[in-house]
Amino acid sequence: MPTITEAYVDSLAPNAGAIKNGRDLVKKNSFPQLNETEDGSLLFGECKGSGKEPYRCSVDFANEANPVFRCTCPSRQFPCKHTLGLLYARALGKSFERADIPQDIAEKRDKAEKREEKKKEAAAADNGDAAKAKRKTNKSALVKKIAVQLDGLGMLEKLVLQLTQSGLGSVDKKTLQMVEEQAKQLGNHYIPGAQAGLREFVLTMRAEGDREAVYTSAMEKLLALRALTKKGKSYLEQRAENPDLPMETASTLEEQLGHAWQLAELREYGRVQTDAELVQLAFLSYADEARGEFADTGWWIDLKEGAIRVTRHLRPFRAVRALREEDTFHGVVKAEELFVYPGDLNARVRWEASTFRDPEPADYAKIKALAAPSYPEVVKQAKNVIKNPLADKNPVLLVAFRSIERMGDEYLLRDAQGKPLPVADIGLGGRPTTPMLSLLGDEELRDQAALVMFRHDLEANRLSVQIMSIVTDRRIVRLLY
């Protein structure tokens, strides 16, 4: 069983409210009974609820990486506050009596084990049948789907051309309403990514404030949509002709069109890294209005590969209450299988089962060693990405710096060769980070590594970065979250 710390329990909770409620249960002494089994793999107890009968809750660590929470309460939140409370009671050092495993849980354990075995057998059998037994796709259905997608892209293309021809200056409320209507229709064409792109255009045009800036970014949106329709069309046409062609994994095109990669697909395309170790360097959650969801975004460094990876948990606005809100994570994640999505500098990743450990000084040293030393190189790398019309315009990289310097109100990073990299607040989730720089100490300001996000300012023709975190030999100074 892992050592249960408060931070660990916090990280299990689906949201901040659950943390508070779980803790309050312990504070109010709502657990008349707390038990653990001889081998310590199962914690269980009774928790007073509003009803006559107490809730019986348990946490089963039979599989350490994937604890099982059980509770007799009717809450839809998972894990519920009672199981969290049970864990907090443990973390806060309440005494647990030794007891035998309750009958019902023993039965459930057995069943789960059998299920596991069956799965393994099935997997073994699959492997026996070997490579051939790939997922079968229904070709005619695929072709049909592609045709609908192409249809949608055609519609979008026409719209983009129309808008360009008549000019952004002539776009009024009525036009925008029409565009929105079209965006709605795109919903029937299996290209949610393109649909969101169009919505972004509408939101940009509707934004209040400086008209000139609005035009500039609306123009960029048009260009991006144009690139998407063009590339998407040629790609899909190819696949329509030959459905056996593999999916596009060299770029994020599939994802931009709106494909949600399944783990099985990623496995099929060999995009799995084994025994990966990741450390989260920064975290931010923001609302993506065009897609109608919250994006809980984590930036991680892959300790083996050195790449900056991104995790993105999407929580649609209308399902917010039912979904777990991701959080800052301080430990080192060890994932048996790391699924890497197609992407540029910052590929999105996911993992299913994982364990974690506390970071050690050696980890920080390792991270620092992975930081890019030379800014001309880094800048080249970033420019190479952002010049692609479909690319992520805000790549994130870990760079080493000799010093953080200041010139009037402007800040900059300097590398070992004395080359500068301008620092600015680029509106990451509305959180400026430069004001915090002057509060740091000498240790943090000299010879460390910084996680930075790039932004190219078209108007000023300037490439600058926002510092998200600073990695020292002892800790990660998180300037975001």
Binding site: G167, M219, L223, F283, E325, H330, L439, N461
Partner: protein, 604 residues
């Protein structure tokens, strides 16, 4: 420069995106750019491609123009994205960090709600800030700025809380942020910043405080002036500021002078007290507690009295105001100069010409001050004053007498006044008795149920008198034991009372207190008469009464509880009754009290 032409081209394409590609054909400005592009294209292929794209756009049909413009735009922005400059002009200096060693470990889910609460508007913010304070998660580098900025929040409780709790917890780490935010010309929030900075830095920032006191905005100035009071060397500045135009600044300066307590400071306070600023000066003078100043105020009061007695019209009323100021200054500190104060008050309250209706509030204040001296001679004088037949001093006289005389004498001397029905004297006296009794029983309810005055302090005849005068609430307070006449009177009152008359519970509590045998039955009867229908919640009286019931009543109480209209009331009743049933038999007599303590514990 080749980059410049890229920008020019960008400007023109952007213009066409806004105007519409339909306008592009043969566009003049684009045409003008073309030769230069061609020129550059000879050496760099990328310019050639741009030139071609431009050419095509210029030549395109209306229907084709959009595609061409998009093509040119795509090509151009791809080029521009590779051109972003990163060099900087000018000399840069390494950042000299403030070295704030704060952690950045608070997780998003804990930190973000706090930052939102500090930086946005809406309800529930203070609660969130409190929660973050209590679990310590606010002690984070990233929250510091937002916390210090919240000193300007328009919802005053937030800056109050932030100033009181959060920022002091940061200690010296908050200093660089407070300093960078401080604006001496700012508002109230900057006053708070100055105060917090001073709390951290103390004397080392006195120059800044002095600057703020002279040049700051009014809000900052007021804070600065009050800080200056801690520094004797700033005396002359404070003196100067005590003549400021703004009332608030002068007031702050007076308080600072009181803190300084130097001869010049006291002189200035005296001047203020005898001038138009007297209202402002009163509290500082009280705070200074300087006997010298008190002495001067007494002499000033005596002079004013003479002027009052000899003066006419506006002089007279001005003198009255001055007397009032002198008395106000002495309030709370008169005892340290009891003899002088007494002689002044005696003079004042013996002057027939002063005791007129216009000066009534001053008379009242003077009489209060007289009692406050807690000095036998003063008390005797107060008794005399009361006896002099001036109704307004009878209450004071009574209070003095209560202190100076045996209970029987007090009764003998004052009981007669009460029989005079609705006279002013009777009213005064009753008021004095009520407030004295309330003072003596203060807190009793919380501690031990129904209050009662200390038996030894009062003559036993008072309670009989109150029965005769039909004053049930005083009877309740004065009843010491279950004498026949008392119980007869109170039970009689009970019978006539209406169901939800709150007096009922006072009377019942008094009956329980004096251990009247029938009390439980009376309560039960009252409850069964239908009081349950009117019970929306249980107050302490209900709980105390029910907890005082003998165990034998439990079944009847249960039956009553079943009838209660509200579930919450029912549940509370049941829990009290359960406790009652668990009570061991031998504790039955004393049990009420123990049980009450137990219930109070449970409720808190």
């Amino acid at each position: 420069m080749s980059i410049d032409i890229l920008f020019e081209l960008q400007q023109e394409t952007r213009r066409l995106f806004i105007a519409g590609s339909a306008m592009a054909a043969g566009d003049l400005r684009l045409t003008k750019l073309l030769p230069r592009l061609r020129n550059l294209g000879e050496s760099a292929p990328v310019f050639k491609r741009l030139a071609d794209a431009t050419d095509e756009l210029l030549a395109a049909e209306r229907e084709e123009s959009a595609a061409k413009l998009l093509e040119l735009g795509t090509l151009l922005s791809a080029v521009l994205y590779t051109q972003g400059r990163t060099e900087t002009a000018g000399e840069s200096q390494p950042v000299q960090g403030a070295g704030v060693g704060l952690k950045t470990d608070t997780t998003y889910r804990k930190l973000n709600p706090l930052i939102l609460a500090l930086t946005t508007k809406g309800q529930g913010r203070l609660e969130q800030i409190r929660a973050s304070f209590e679990d310590g998660s606010f002690l984070d580098l990233r929250a510091l700025q937002a916390i210090c900025s919240a000193l300007d929040d328009s919802y005053a409780e937030i800056p109050d809380y932030v100033q009181e709790k959060l920022i002091p917890a940061f200690g010296s780490d908050a200093v660089p942020v407070l300093r960078s935010q401080l604006n001496l010309q700012g508002g109230k929030g900057d006053g708070r910043r100055l105060q917090l900075l001073h709390r951290q830095l103390g004397r080392s920032m006195i120059d800044l405080v002095a600057e703020a006191a002279v040049d700051g905005s009014p809000e900052v100035k007021i804070v600065a002036v009050s800080i200056l009071g801690e520094y004797p060397e700033q005396e002359s500045l404070v003196l100067q500021l005590s003549r400021e135009k703004r009332k608030e600044v002068r007031s702050a300066a007076y308080f600072s002078l009181a803190k300084l307590g130097t001869a010049a400071a006291l002189q200035r306070l005296y001047e203020a007290a005898v001038s138009k600023d007297r209202e402002l000066a009163v509290d500082p003078i009280r705070a200074s507690a300087s006997s010298e100043l008190m002495g001067r105020m007494i002499r000033f009061g005596e002079d004013a009295l003479e002027r009052h007695l000899s003066g006419e019209g506006s002089d007279k009323s001005e003198a009255a105001e001055q007397i009032r100021t002198a008395i106000s200054c002495l309030e709370g500190s008169g005892r340290q100069m009891a003899a002088e104060t007494y002689s002044f008050l005696r003079k004042l309250l013996s002057s027939e010409a002063f005791l007129v209706q216009e000066t009534e509030t001053t008379q009242e204040a003077a009489a209060e001050l007289l009692l406050e001296l807690d000095w036998p001679e003063a008390d005797r004088f107060a008794i005399e004053l009361g006896d002099a037949g001036r109704g307004s001093f009878l209450g004071h006289g009574f209070r003095a007498a209560f202190r100076q005389m045996p209970p029987a004498d007090v009764y003998h001397r004052y009981a007669g006044f009460l029989s005079k029905g609705k006279s002013k004297a009777a009213k005064e006296l009753l008021g004095a008795i009520r407030s004295l009794a309330a003072y003596q029983t203060r807190g009793d309810e919380e501690r031990d149920g129904a209050g009662v005055v200390p038996e030894a302090a009062w003559d036993p005849r008072w309670v009989q008198l109150f029965i005769r005068l039909d004053l049930p609430e005083l009877v309740c307070l004065f009843a010491q034991r279950a004498d026949r006449d008392v119980t007869d009177y109170l039970t009689g009152k009970l019978q006539n009372a209406k169901a939800n008359d709150w007096h009922v519970y006072d009377i019942l509590l008094a009956l329980f207190r004096i251990r009247y045998r029938e009390a439980p039955e009376l309560l039960m009867g009252h409850l069964e008469k239908g009081a349950g229908r009117h019970l929306y919640y249980l107050n302490w009286q209900h709980k105390r009464l029910i907890a005082s019931m003998p165990k034998a009543y439990a079944p009847r109480l249960r039956a009553f509880a079943e009838q209660a209209a509200y579930e919450s009331v029912r549940n509370e009743l049941f829990s009290i009754i359960e406790a009652l049933e668990e009570k061991p038999d031998d504790a039955a007599e004393e049990g009420g009290r123990g049980l009450w303590g137990w219930i109070r514990n449970k409720m808190s």
